[in-house]
């Protein structure tokens, strides 16, 4: 999968008046989602679940929001993806989990400060 994207045809862009409407209609719902993210991170920390690999992945991915570069959605999706390329020998279950857990960390728990503890977290 190339990280550098090829030139693409442009879709029809909205009129200038519609650009203001993007913010008018979009700001409050997105504001609510941002607060949900913050509250979720507070909640898992308060309940001692912040070390779950998915929460760690979420915090790492969220850094993309503030790096000032474009294509944030694509880059966050990539950060939450399995980066390997070979098919797996066996299935680990029917359901995906939303963040990738490297096989080497099976049975390992990553802490908020990056320390590694032995604990069962794998599906």
């Amino acid at each position: 999968m190339p990280t550098k994207r090829t030139p693409r045809p442009q879709g029809k862009l909205p009129a200038a008046a519609a650009s203001r409407a993007l913010v008018d209609h979009g700001f409050v719902p997105v504001r609510a989602k941002l607060i949900e993210v913050a509250a979720f991170l507070d909640r898992v920390e308060r309940h001692g679940a912040a070390d779950d690999f998915r929460c760690v992945a979420l915090r790492t991915a969220a850094q993309v929001l503030l790096d000032g570069k474009p294509e944030r959605a694509r880059r966050i999706l990539e950060r939450l993806s399995d980066p390997t390329t070979k098919p797996d020998a066996v299935s680990t279950g029917k359901a995906a989990l939303g963040a990738w857990l490297p096989p080497a960390t099976v049975g390992v728990k990553v802490t908020l400060k990056g320390k590694v503890n032995v604990a069962a977290t794998r599906r």
Binding site: R8, A18, A21, G26, S81, D82, P87, A96, A99
Partner: protein
């Protein structure tokens, strides 16, 4: 407004949903074979399901004046059982001549395993042998990027596959351009909690263009919205896109792809 629902698992939906869809302007619904939420115990479970997709469900949709088409396969979630997959694959050809069957789908990968890849390749062979359209499911969440790459590699290496007759579904921002660059069609699925939202779908259309792309709700027994496609039309209009833009993405594009199968005919065409 008129639109096509090119991917809806209507066996899981109520008659209220059919009513709402036809009221919103739906002109046809297409139903790929999928996972029932549990593993079927034998090939006969699939035979019954294929009869439902090709006989009963079209009749139920017809009561609401909605043309119903279907796609057949054993889905990737049940592809770990190679013996069962072989039995189902051997049975599929007897259903391909049914009048509402458009092709093979939704095939693909779930957890990106060797067995899933093996069964995917057999489905592609079957589709090529019988000159069928192909509808591909890409994996969920963290598995989508790798799975899309594996699927595209397999399809591109198969000499009998024509990319213009394949739609790769459930694309998101990290896979859509790759799929389009390889010559395939791309499907954007609109889900409340995963895949794409209406605003993100319109973002992708603005960035990647509107050629070789369709939108679908993939409504099923999970959290999903059978009116997600017409609701996305509202998002387009709110951003200032023309009615012609909406019509191309929601109606003309799926008609163009699906009409490659001569069995896809709408009453008013």
């Amino acid at each position: 407004m008129r639109y096509i629902e090119p991917h809806g698992h209507m066996v899981s939906r109520t008659t209220d949903d059919y009513q709402a869809m036809i009221t919103a302007g739906c002109q046809a619904v297409c139903e790929p074979a999928f996972w029932a939420g549990y593993d079927r115990s034998s090939v006969d479970g699939f035979r019954d399901y294929f009869r439902q997709l090709t006989e009963y469900e079209p009749a139920r949709a017809a009561k609401f004046l909605l043309p119903h088409f279907s796609w057949l396969c054993i889905n990737p979630k049940e592809s770990e059982d190679l013996a069962l997959a072989a039995d189902v694959l051997a049975m599929i050809p007897e259903f391909l001549t049914k009048p509402n069957v458009l092709g093979i789908g939704e095939i693909g990968l779930n957890r990106n395993t060797r067995n899933e890849l093996n069964v995917l390749e057999q489905h592609v062979d079957l589709a090529v042998k019988h000159d069928q359209l192909i509808l591909v499911h890409t994996p969920h969440l963290e598995d989508k990027l790798k799975g899309t790459r594996l699927i595209v590699d397999l399809l591109r290496s198969h000499q009998g596959v024509k990319p213009g007759r394949v739609i790769i579904d459930h694309v998101e921002e990290h896979t859509i351009q790759y799929v389009l660059d390889q010559g395939f069609w791309a499907g954007i699925t609109l889900y409340p909690d995963s895949k794409s939202s209406p605003p993100r779908a319109v973002d992708m259309l603005e960035i990647c263009g509107r050629e070789r792309i369709w939108l679908n709700s993939a409504c099923d027994w999970g959290v999903s919205d059978p009116l997600a496609v017409p609701k996305t039309a509202f998002e387009m209009r709110r951003r200032g896109h023309s009615t012609e833009f909406v019509d191309q993405v929601l109606y003309q594009n799926p008609v163009r792809f699906l009409s490659q199968c001569p069995k896809f005919r709408l009453p008013n065409t």
